[in-house]
Amino acid sequence: MSQAPQEHDRLKGQEESSQQGQEQQRRLRNSVGRMLLDHYFRLACIGIACISVVVLVFLIGSIITQGVPSLSWTLLSGTPEPEPSEAGAWPAIAGTIWVCTICALITLPIGIGTAVLIEEFKPRSRWANRIFSVIQLNISNLAGVPSVVYGILGLTAFVSMFGLVGSLKRGESSFEIGAIYYDQFTNLASDPFMSMGVEDAKERYFLAPVISPSDPPTVAKSGMEMFEYQGDQKIPVKIEVLDPFGELPSDPDALSLAIAADTVPGRISEKSWYYFSLPFGRGVLAGSLTLMLVILPVIIISSQEALRSVPSSLRDGARGLGATPWQVVWNITLPAAAPGILTGSILAMSRAIGETAPILIIAGIVYIRNAPQHLMDSYTVLPLQIYNWTSRPQEEFHAIAAAGIVVLLIILLSFNAIAVILRQRMQNKVR
């Protein structure tokens, strides 16, 4: 920077000496002014670059100084307890990983496939051409739509499916697989109003299987076989139905198997990992599909750019050897475009990880204690959890929120690092 005045003086000197030049040189444009402009333009570029670097360093520095002290194992593995010292973000971290992985698995094939269709299989007829250009225009426009709009679209299209396929209420969905329903009975000992005479019996819960979720509540009878969880295993047990105001058995074991005649069971369900239902409800799948809407245009456009940058001489070469259009795409064009496609996909996925607005609409702010277990499970994501913490009045939560941001950044950067390594590998194989 300190060189600038000296440089200026030197060039000024040149300018004066050249003005004393001969008449015919007057017709040439003076190069000194242009060189000075070039010099200052370079300085301006360096300055602007410095500003952005300084802002970035300040941002990262402030996040790290605030967030790193509250980084702890509890934060990574714990549940979002209301007590700041016990609060953790594991459900949110798991939710982010679930949603983004499923979103990538759905979006990448669709996005790359669309780009290949538009770029490599251009239609011959005029009408098909018109349809293609309308699609192209739409994709470009959709890339600029605010993500909250996609959230509302996802709410209608994926969460409730326009109300076309049953309702969201339990047992009223039109299609369900992987769920078993039970009626849960409590024994006498766990009845809060039955403390007299049952002190020695332990509290137990019995499950009666229900065939259809819309069946009426099971009526318990003496000698009926129900299931009970002992550890992880479901053990069949025989229950007794007693009049709670009559005579109770004195043996605590027998007493613990007894349920009151007027007990009303609660309907519960057990869902396996492949649980699936229509409509999707406010689950992981609906969130992933909504994020897909947000990033699909970005992935399509960047994949198109990558495919367009593959020289057509490569396509000609493969076609000249007798490759079919599909063989050209699969063996030549896609591998050559892969680094570019991957770069676009990284950027799009980074956006998906940080996206808050559509998830806020789809999932809402809910208190989630567990990582998602299946595609329809309710979930939360890290940005939502961070937003939740920052909006609380306690100062401690703000520090935890900063730590959450650090975690989010680490997930984001590791996601990007994997993709960068993949891309590097692909390019090394080629060059």
């Binding site: 001489s313 070469g317 493969a318 000249g320 050897l321 007798g322 063996n331 194989k429 080629v430």
Partner: protein, 284 residues
């Protein structure tokens, strides 16, 4: 592996993929036709409204080198690209008349272009090796069309690279990227790639225009060697090249064949004034 075994292996592979020989009994009128690899009769071709070729009638003789010369934009490359239907991707391109490769009608929309392009290889002006290894480049065509085991494939690759006179330079780095080769080596690799599928006809679209004199010479020597087995059609802007390495020459001007004859005749005593002006370098 020595060269003669390579030759036999490859011949065996090539015979398996070659089209069935024509039946003996209709050989009477075929014998005359088989002297020509490609026959064009009154061929007109358009790009949209623009007519690129006017009433082209010529026969490309078998196992000879035929050169197409003429100023830029005269339709040489267009005709060449009709020979293996590379024009299919240009939607506005269409043609009328008659164009045959042996028994195949080249203008018929239902012609199997995949098999056609196996039988009619093409080498482009700019070397365009795939961004893969040298071996993969040559193996690309055979993998598309043939079912070969590993040793057969590597024999075929070696044979093709030897045929294209590039084997000695690349034999120690078959797994290195093809883009690391020099321009001349890349072009010879592309020729090896084209002959690996066992074509009958080899089309060359100005194969030497981007090469230095030494590489050009190597490729001309190569054409001289390949002419026994292949019918070669070369488009060139280089008069010396056409006169050096071709048997027959066609002079194109504004979409028409002005003159077609033996190279010697075209270059020494052409019958048309236009041809004479062109080969003497007075225009174009």
């Amino acid at each position: 592996m020595n060269t003669s075994t390579l030759e036999t292996t490859t011949k065996r592979i090539m015979n398996q993929v070659a089209p069935q020989p024509i039946a003996e009994d209709d050989s009477t009128d075929v014998s005359e036709a088989t002297q020509f690899a490609i026959e064009a009769n009154n061929l007109n071709a358009w790009y949209g409204e623009f007519q690129a070729l006017h009433e082209i009638s010529l026969e490309i003789p078998k196992n000879q080198v035929t050169a197409f010369i003429g100023p830029s934009g005269c339709g040489k490359s267009t005709l060449l690209r009709w020979f293996n239907r590379m024009n299919d991707t240009i939607f506005s391109a269409h043609a009328t008349g008659n164009l045959r490769l042996g028994e195949i009608d080249l203008l018929d929309k239902s012609t199997d272009v995949v098999d056609l392009r196996r039988r009619v290889g093409i080498v482009f002006q700019k070397a365009n090796p795939f961004p893969k290894s040298i071996f993969e480049n040559v193996a690309f065509g055979p993998r598309l069309h043939m079912q070969l085991d590993k040793s057969e494939l590597s024999d075929l690759v070696e044979w093709s690279l030897r045929k294209a006179a590039v084997w000695e330079e690349v034999k120690d780095r078959l797994n290195a990227p093809a883009l690391g080769l020099s321009g001349g080596q890349q072009q010879r690799l592309c020729i090896a790639r084209a002959i690996a599928t066992g074509p009958e006809v080899l089309l060359m679209d100005e194969p030497c225009s981007a090469l230095d004199p030494a590489s050009t010479l190597a490729i001309e020597d190569l054409m001289d060697e390949l002419r026994d087995q292949y019918t070669i059609v070369i488009v060139t802007h280089n008069m010396q090249q056409a006169s050096r390495c071709s048997d027959k020459t066609a002079f194109f001007f504004e979409g028409r064949v002005v003159e077609f004859g033996t190279t010697e005749k075209i270059f020494t005593k052409p019958s048309s004034q236009k041809t004479e002006d062109y080969v003497r370098g007075r225009f174009g």
